[in-house]
């Protein structure tokens, strides 16, 4: 059991935004967290890395490789972030520093966690850029984020998250802000990267169709509570809770639209 979340409670401004969430992600698993916006799925992801906004209170337990993460101080968590657990955020337009080159941003985790020299980090950044299939890796590392497309920026974010070969990758709606065609490419990228590195994946989304492609097991969140859990195949074939049924209906209309377009 590499990641175990038990009875997680997050209070933000006096409101319980996450209320008793629990799940476990074994080594090498592909796990999904699905829910409508405001269901607390992103906060759950941030809580794992200890990145909740100021004023948020966390209760319950998050165990990573057997050690408790809740209540650990920032310095200790910083050693885990990026090295053992990587994360990719939803919005590729704002997730990269606008005034640093792509190469330096990809190389940053290597410089922090592995003490790589500037040169070594840049060489590794070029390799990583190639692995996430960025065009012309040796040239693109000298570019700035605004010179890249949304899909390319999300590839950069994936390269940063995977730079130190973390054993867990958290992807927080990494395809939501992208065009449908790019979405599919990025999903393919995550599938490939996870199977290549053998790391486990926690994929957060509100789209059951996306989830069915990438994850095997999932929890469904609504208003901060787990309303359903189990294999994704079961969620698709026999959804129990009304929330899951709604998500399934939404996913179906979306895919019908897709077929019409073809």
């Amino acid at each position: 059991m590499s990641l175990e979340v038990e009875d997680l409670v997050i209070t933000l401004g006096g409101r319980r935004v996450v209320d008793g969430v629990g799940f476990s992600v074994p080594d090498g698993a592909r796990f999904g967290i699905i829910g409508e916006s405001g269901s607390g799925k992103s906060l759950t992801a941030l809580a794992i890395l200890g990145l909740l906004p100021d004023g948020a209170e966390v209760g319950g337990s998050i165990r990573w490789e057997g050690t408790e993460l809740v209540g650990r101080d920032d310095r200790e968590l910083a050693r885990i972030r990026g090295r053992e657990i990587g994360i990719v955020f939803q919005e590729p337009r704002t997730a990269l520093n606008p005034i640093r080159t792509i190469g330096r941003q990809i190389g940053e985790p290597l410089r922090i966690h592995e003490g790589a020299s500037k040169r070594a980090a840049m060489a590794r950044a070029i390799d990583l850029a190639a692995r996430v299939r960025l065009p012309e890796p040796d040239r693109i590392v000298r570019r700035y984020p605004h010179q890249l497309s949304g899909g390319q920026r999300q590839r950069v974010a994936a390269a940063i998250a995977l730079a130190c070969r973390p054993s867990l990758l958290i992807a927080d709606e990494p395809t939501t802000a992208l065009d449908v065609t790019i979405q599919s490419e990025i999903l393919g990228l995550f599938e490939r990267l996870v199977s290549e590195t053998g790391s486990s994946l926690v994929f957060i989304t509100h789209d059951l169709a996306v989830l069915s492609r990438i994850a095997t097991d999932a929890v469904v969140l609504a208003q901060g509570k787990v309303v359903e859990a189990g294999p994704v195949a079961k969620l698709l074939s026999a959804p129990v809770s009304p929330v899951t049924q709604r998500l399934l209906a939404a996913a179906k209309t979306m895919s019908w639209k897709g077929e019409d377009d073809d």
């Binding site: 890395l49 990145l51 920032d74 310095r75 910083a78 050693r79 885990i80 972030r81 990026g82 090295r83 990587g86 994360i87 955020f89 919005e91 704002t94 997730a95 990269l96 520093n97 606008p98 005034i99 640093r100 940053e108 985790p109 922090i112 966690h113 700035y144 605004h146 010179q147 890249l148 497309s149 974010a157 940063i160 998250a161 730079a163």
Partner: protein, 303 residues
């Protein structure tokens, strides 16, 4: 135009400097500031005439080879006086820039990265301090400690530091709440690295403009305070003092007043233009080579 666009690709180091020099405003700013600093330096070693030497037989001489800009009411060489006066200008500009940087960064950091009640207290403090005009603060300090260059430096430094804090504080708030700072933390960056890699570089463009503006205001304030008698003591030649002494003869010898006035005006203009050009040169999202995306700010089109 297209050639200029192509060259204006901002990069660190020498390429960034080239980008600065290819914009007319930047080149003008760099040249004027260089000349200013050089003349202040040279004035320690050499001036055409002793700037303090009075000569009753050489009063109000017109510009000539002997006296490039003519002489004043007691026969001193105006060009030599300008050279020596530039020392004060440089000292005041640099001094008040240092003070306003310290005051500004400290207030902005306290007002944006601390606990909520501290932040709000600092915000109120900034609002109160900003209500005091620079000259008033300077006169208050001068009336307590007597007039000197330090008064000018501290007065401009403090009042502009507050200004810098006012503009920089929301900028730090914005950047520190941005997703790339969060992403930086998620990649394992500690608070110090996040500050030096993400926070400060992204706040710098706003800061640089403010700083160059504060230097320009310092030059003006020195002139104004010296004019009012609060600035440099009478033994130290400064442009403001020259202006106040020569303007009494404005009706008779208008040309002589022109020189210190012109020197002040050009310096202030150059500092302002330099600030703008520096901002453009340090921001890679402005003045890009090939517009792959839509411009993110109007400067990207016009600059």
């Amino acid at each position: 135009m297209s050639g200029q666009q192509r060259l204006r690709r901002p990069r660190a180091g020498s390429a960034g400097f080239r980008a600065l020099m290819t914009s007319p405003a930047g080149a003008f700013g760099v040249v004027v500031v260089t000349v200013l600093v050089l003349s202040a330096g040279i004035s320690f070693l050499w001036t055409p005439h002793d700037p303090q030497l009075t000569d009753p037989f050489a009063k109000w001489l017109p510009p000539s080879v002997e006296h490039l800009l003519g002489t004043d009411e007691v026969g001193r060489d105006i060009f030599s006086l300008l050279l020596v006066g530039s020392r004060v200008t440089v000292a005041v500009a640099i001094g008040s820039a240092v003070v306003s940087t310290i005051v500004g960064v400290a207030l902005a950091a306290l007002g944006s990265l601390t606990r909520r009640w501290v932040r709000e207290a600092v915000a109120v403090l900034i609002d109160i301090l900003i209500a005091f005009p620079t000259l008033l603060i300077a006169m208050m300090i001068a009336s307590v400690f007597g007039g000197s260059l330090w008064v000018v430096i501290w007065a401009v430094g403090i009042s502009f530091g507050v200004n810098i804090a006012r503009v920089t504080r929301p900028e730090i708030r914005r950047v520190s709440h941005s997703e790339y700072v969060l992403a930086g933390r998620a990649a394992g960056l500690g608070p110090v690295r996040n500050l030096t890699r993400h926070l400060l570089p992204n706040v710098a463009p706003v800061f640089i403009v403010q700083l160059s503006w504060s230097m320009a205001v310092a030059v003006l304030a020195e002139a104004g305070l010296s004019y009012l008698g609060y600035g440099a003591p009478s033994s130290v030649p400064s442009w403001g003092r020259m202006l106040s002494e020569l303007q009494t003869y404005l009706a008779v010898h208008p040309l002589s007043v022109l020189w210190p006035g012109l020197a002040i005006t050009i310096t202030v203009l150059a500092l302002n233009l330099l600030g703008d050009a520096l901002r453009d040169a340090t921001d890679p999202t402005l003045g890009r080579r090939a517009p792959t995306t839509t411009p993110t700010s109007p400067q990207g089109v016009t600059a």
